[in-house]
């Protein structure tokens, strides 16, 4: 678990992209919904290289800014192609004013051509 950001760093309905060493080479998007819930998923769409933090957040779903596939932030499930793989979700804990993230132990579903930065033999990486 690591401290991701202060609560106030993200306005309701918005997202923050984390790309520091704590994400272990796979950038994370932290969302704060209009209902004031926090969610964290891998930031890169499973279809093509697009940042979900730049996507369209509606309720608990984020829509990819490129092809409009929607991911459920609670489960990572995708609604319709062209994205076909679910997005990996991370556990979020809000303690006081700090948002903490526990990284998933599952392999990320990165799109073709994208490998975890700095990880030479990461699971899920492409040759």
């Amino acid at each position: 678990m690591f401290a991701a950001c202060p609560r106030s760093a993200i306005e309701p309905g918005e997202a923050l992209r984390l790309d520091g060493p704590e994400t272990q080479g796979v950038p994370i998007a932290v969302f704060r919904t209009d209902d004031d819930e926090f969610f964290a998923v891998d930031d890169t769409c499973t279809h093509q290289d697009a940042s979900l933090a730049e996507g369209w957040l509606e309720g608990c779903e984020v829509e990819c800014p490129l092809h409009a596939s929607k991911f459920d932030l609670r489960t990572g499930a995708v609604d319709a192609p062209p994205a076909k793989q679910p997005i990996r979700t991370h556990q979020v804990t809000v303690d006081g004013d700090t948002v903490f993230i526990t990284l998933s132990t599952q392999a990320p579903n990165l799109p073709p051509g994208i490998v975890p930065g700095g990880l030479a033999h990461a699971p899920g990486g492409q040759a």
Partner: protein, 412 residues
Amino acid sequence: MTVPPRRVAVVGASLAGLSAARALRAQGYAGELVIVGNEVHRPYDRPPLSKEFLGADHHLVELSLEAETENLDAVWHLGVHATGLRPRPEGGATVVTDRDAIDADAVIIATGAAARCDMPGVGLPGVHLLRTVDDAVALRADLHRAVESGATVAIVGGGFIGSEVASTARKLGCQVTVVVPDDVPLRAALGPYADAVAALHAEHGVTVRAHSRVLGVRRSDDGGLEVLLDGADPVPAATVVLGIGAAPAVGWLTGSGLDLHGGAGDAIQCDESGATKLPGVFAVGDCAAWFDQHRGRHHKIEHWTSAKERGAVVAARVLGAERLPTCRPPYVWSDIYGKRLQLAGYRELADHPDTLEATLEVGSLAEGSFAAVYRRGGEPVAVLALDQSRHFNQIRRRLVTPAPTAAQGATA
């Protein structure tokens, strides 16, 4: 239509047709579904064709629009050309193809558009159009050859395709000249903000031949090609890309009784949810001009997201749904020199669509990073951004749809 159709034929197997077919099933349609596509390929994604699919890492680009497990329970006729439409007295129509004839209670026409090619020299070897994956594969081979030989790639066209191909070709290492009708590429689409894209072209060493009227392409004395310009020296090149727009693929509908003069150009005229004047015949995507109540006239939207969203609308219409899905304001994006350009809403309906002072909100042209808001009566109706996705999204969420304009003509 109160009785659901027993057979629906979707003519066109790209994004609009696939989205309509998918939406029919999602909305509970259980009857026969026939999909006709003139390319042999399963539905694929076109935006990457002018971008990363031409580049060095093209083998990593995933073009398929379908999931492996997806099953629409449809009969696919791929590599089949629709040649005519015969309306039936009881509604619906018979779709005549170069293979057979398909009788359907409802027909959704989604044949899209074809790259415009009305220019002398189009058929010469080394002269490329870019619309299909086959076009892109052929162009890619020539671009990679041009890197080896150091020969110039000339790109004709001041639109998004021209600037995207220029960016991709330059990244590959090609010498690139872009030939445009205005002072800079994308002036018509972006107004003053086109200067930021022009700066990127200059920074990356792309030559722009401005204010050029192209007369055609011909083989030069040395065996290469040259792009002939009106009143200016020709542009010598080994490879020429013509990005001069697209025309609705509706030639096969001549004589069908459909009105083919919707919007600018010859698109199928439809009402505000895709119905044509023929009962049981609908149209969606680049081949169709739906009545647009915000503009008060028929209008063709050639955007990826609209093709997708409107598929659900036309499906609901085919099935006689009481409530139709709503579409968001149009949205388009482009990737140029690693920067993302995004445009949403109704820029042309703004009070000051071409004034920098009235629209610039964040960043600047000089920084190559900005967000601009277009307003009508003080309300935001469109947003344009370069490398400012976060601001773009914040503004996009606040966009209002302009009040309907009084109709200038009856709906289809």
